[in-house]
Amino acid sequence: MSVAADQAKSARQRPDQYVEPSVSRTKFDREVGEYRALEEEYLSRGWVMTHASFPLVRVMMCAAQLKPPAVIVEVELDFTNYDAEPPSVTLVEPFTHRPYKADELPTILKRTVGAPAGFLPPGLPVGSMVNIQAQQPLMQPPNDPDGLPFLCIAGVREYHEHPAHSGDLWELHRESGAGRLARVLEVIHKYGVEPIADYQVQLALSVTGFIQSSFPE
């Protein structure tokens, strides 16, 4: 294990397992087993499972549509206490597993959202047709400065533990499959990998002199 990966491992705080371990492990095995059954399809999307040992799953996500393909991010899911609790989801560096801080994220999973129904900007007459769209990142910054950015969707432990979502309990979503491995990966792929169309290249040109056509005597 590299020094960086070792540091990343020791720096993470992992929750204690209070659910009967065999229950969480059985459900973990089901998640991994279903993934393995479709592994070829997922690989064609650029998903590579790099680790699957209870309670952790890591899946590297690549932009397979690029030439050459690019590794975008690695997703780490922690199924401790699953599914009394949803999985914890963290975006980590692909080769060290170190969690990204908010300002280091290679993608913030932007999604387009429309204005609420009936919303009318001030100044417009009643009945006006407006089409307002905004971009909302699904990766949200942490509350405390030392925290990690989190995936702000139901079915993710960090979402349900956030004070702003105290009214949206995990129990309301557990039966919907919101915390399933494939679903979490689908969301990250949809908003973080699929929209990548090409490499963005910046060339810095500088003038270093002149080309002369001749050198007169």
């Binding site: 702000c152 039966e175 919907s176 499959g177 494939a182």
Partner: protein, 83 residues
């Protein structure tokens, strides 16, 4: 064995495979409820789900089922409201 005009579709609901029977002339969205029921994903209404193919491309669920025979269909929960 499906009846005439009926066909079986391979559907993967949140990563869990199942086979759903539907009419080739019905819209794809008509099988969502059955697919959810068969896989025990009962917590969200059919409108909260979307179909994608194996490559991850979004599929038009108003098209007829007959156009998707032989296609592995991935039925995924939409992201919902974030933030």
């Amino acid at each position: 064995m499906p009846h005439q005009n009926q066909t079986n579709l391979d559907v993967v609901v949140n990563g869990q495979p199942t086979v759903v029977e539907g009419s080739v002339n019905a819209p794809l969205r008509s099988i969502i409820e059955k697919a959810l029921e068969q896989t025990g994903n009962t917590g969200q209404p059919p409108d909260s789900w979307e179909f994608r193919d194996a490559a991850g491309q979004l599929l038009d669920d108003t098209k007829k089922i007959g156009e998707f025979v032989g296609v592995k269909l991935f039925l995924n929960l939409k992201a919902g409201v974030g933030g």
